[in-house]
Assembly symmetry: C2
Homo-oligomer: 411 residues x 2
């Protein structure tokens, strides 16, 4: 008999019918003998409706009071699901974040979980009840209601699983798992049986938005096995876990991530003196613009070129800042490009395999795709290419790294 935490998101509980479906699913699992803690989001659209109400009063709602309003969304769904379970003869009880209690800091609207009291939950599980907990919310030391920010229900699920030392935290969503890449780009993309926390973090931050990054970090830190599953389809989903088996059988890379939200800026003919990188990026960061990739090549003729990427929405403001900097430090010119895309191969397997990067570059060269920037980490290689080649590049890499195969080793 295992202890499982199951988290259902807003679309999974978006109507009475769907809540009934979730109740059926939970009932089935309960009857199979597992102890269950179910974490719920608000009905889809409800959180926005509540925020809109507050916005009608003021553009800048007091964060403490906004949390009081917004937290009612999950409070409704937990009671509805509990009723639906009891109707089916499944003993169940609901708890708000305050009732559990999920203690957070006092950063309203984006609070962090500090501690979870597992006593009530354990007592209910012992009595055979399914425990239904409101996601996304907690309470601070003063008794004020807090919320964890968007997507915080995933974090609640993982934190509860960690506190209860659950065997698995299952995140039910509208996809049936994590794929080798976006199936809309590569029809042969396959669901992964398993992926490591590190890989998942690289995949998520690079655009395969299945899970909240924060919840994956949390799961990794406390080693909570995480499983992504479809809310209403059967299937094993994808298990996200620690990297236990660094063996030769392991595939070299797990997936291809990509992102077309970025733009590239280059400052050319920068005098090659110490501290120049700070002089360039300092003003950008002071303007609250986030930088992703940064590339500086070796200097020649005592000048160097410095290139970085920012979100496309911030391209114009970043360009203005950079042009000021260019005048101050006597750089030759600033050039930029918004028609770029980033493609990354991700996999812990590349740690033990030489030549992964060159195999990537070879595959792109074969398709005559020019590489504009390269950046590497221990488990990923990212390149920036012209945007129009994005799909071609992803497909070429998917094939080159043998991800198309219908069944892969270990499955």
């Amino acid at each position: 008999m295992a202890l499982i935490v199951q988290k259902f998101g807003g679309t999974s509980v978006g109507s009475i019918e769907r809540i009934e479906q979730v109740a059926e699913k939970v009932k089935k699992h309960r009857e199979a003998g597992d102890d269950l803690v179910v974490v719920l989001s608000a009905m889809s659209g409800e959180t926005n409706r509540l925020i809109d109400l507050a916005k009608q009063i003021t553009d800048q709602p007091v964060p403490r009071e906004l949390d009081v309003i917004v937290s009612t969304g999950e409070q409704v769904t937990i009671a509805l699901l509990t009723m639906a379970l009891i109707k089916r003869g499944v003993p169940a009880v609901s708890y708000t974040g305050n009732q559990v209690r999920i203690l957070t800091d006092s950063s309203h609207n984006k609070a962090r979980i500090l501690q979870i009291d597992d006593q009530k939950i354990r007592a209910d599980l012992k009595e055979g009840r399914v425990v239904v907990v409101a996601g996304f919310q907690g309470v601070d030391e003063h008794g004020s209601i807090t919320t964890l920010g968007r997507g915080g229900s995933d974090t609640t699920g993982v934190a509860l699983a960690a506190a209860l030392k659950a065997d698995e935290c299952q995140i039910y969503t509208d996809v049936d798992g994590v794929y080798t890449t976006d199936p809309r780009v590569v029809p042969q993309a396959r669901r992964l049986e398993k992926i490591t926390f590190e890989e998942m973090l690289e995949m998520a931050s690079l655009g395969s938005k299945v899970l909240q990054i924060r919840s994956v970090e949390f799961a990794g830190k406390y080693n909570v096995p995480l499983r992504v599953l479809h809310s209403f389809k059967e299937g094993p989903g994808t298990l996200i876990t620690i990297d236990e088996e660094e063996s030769m059988e392991q595939p070299i890379i797990s997936g291809i991530a990509f992102n077309r939200d970025e733009a590239k800026l280059t400052i050319r003919g920068v005098p090659d003196t110490p501290g120049v990188a700070f002089k360039i990026l300092g003003p950008i960061s002071a303007s609250n613009i986030e930088v992703d990739m940064i590339v500086q090549n070796v200097a020649h003729d005592n000048t160097t070129d410095f290139t970085f990427t920012v979100h496309r929405n911030e391209y114009e403001s970043a360009k203005n800042v950079l042009e000021n900097t260019a005048r101050e430090i006597g750089a030759r010119e600033v050039i930029g490009d918004t028609k770029i895309a980033k493609v990354s191969i991700v996999g812990v397997g590349m740690r033990s395999h030489a030549g992964v990067a060159s195999r990537m570059f070879e595959a792109l060269a074969k398709e005559s795709i020019n590489i504009q920037m390269i950046s590497t980490s221990e488990i990923k290689v990212s390149v920036v290419i012209e945007e129009k080649y994005l799909e071609l590049a992803v497909r070429a890499l998917h094939t080159a790294f043998e991800l198309d195969a219908p069944v892969r080793q270990g499955e």
Copy 2:
């Protein structure tokens, strides 16, 4: 500087515009120097919407879970009003029933308040904050959310006023006070400046539905001065308080109450033996039918007639029960009438005035209105008459007891 508890009902906070109006009103009072605790209901219609959601899951929602859902209604309004106050530069903070904390028993959906912790509220008042509290809800000893049942927000207001020893509990509503009778029947009906708790109880239970009976009882028990005021019109309203001045100046009666929801049943020719009243009313009460007036006259020829009134909705079932009883105890017949009305004069002044009842009967006789039943208590006299004479009777009594006068003594 006084400490005032102000309660606003569902229609007073029924839209964002109205919440803004309430905020203006509270701001004005705060600026006048009073310490304020504001108790709110849910936006009108919201509680029903939430109950409907639960009813879509099951006809018989688990009471504990229904309270979890329903309590979100006030949770939204308290935060909205608090935001609206802070926007106006009025420091304020919201509390749910759990946060205050308002400890109740565990009778979900109809809980009773056991105790209120006033520490947080006192600390906030000291800091100059307006404290906005969710009406209608509390928390039981296990930390489960409870609700007090319909109209419970009035009770919350009175209970808070009692716990804080407030100078006054103001109930804002859609009428500007308690009237000598229904102005739709008697255009000369006047707003009362003052009325005693006992009179208010008689008036309320007899059909002048301004306040929850329970909250008036509560206010009387703890001697909390209660004031009924209009939410959006200026005016002193009506003060409900203890009977301090039993003087000759006091008007004899305060108001005329009436009720056309009742029906009358008579069992005739009942053998006049001890215990017959129980034999007749026992089966009625066993059928969960509430009885209001009961009249039994002296017997003659060893038989008696026994008459009582019930709600019109229960007339048919009461008649069936009574006919069974008649057969069992050998009574002659059962007759009934649904076309009746009850008219009552209410006033603590009648304690010290003889002849009040006869003045009432005289006024009715002058209009040739036949009295079918009479029932008296220390501060009221009720009669049952034919329904079609109701308005005429109320107007005649209103004039006979000098309630029409534009200004009354003491005002």
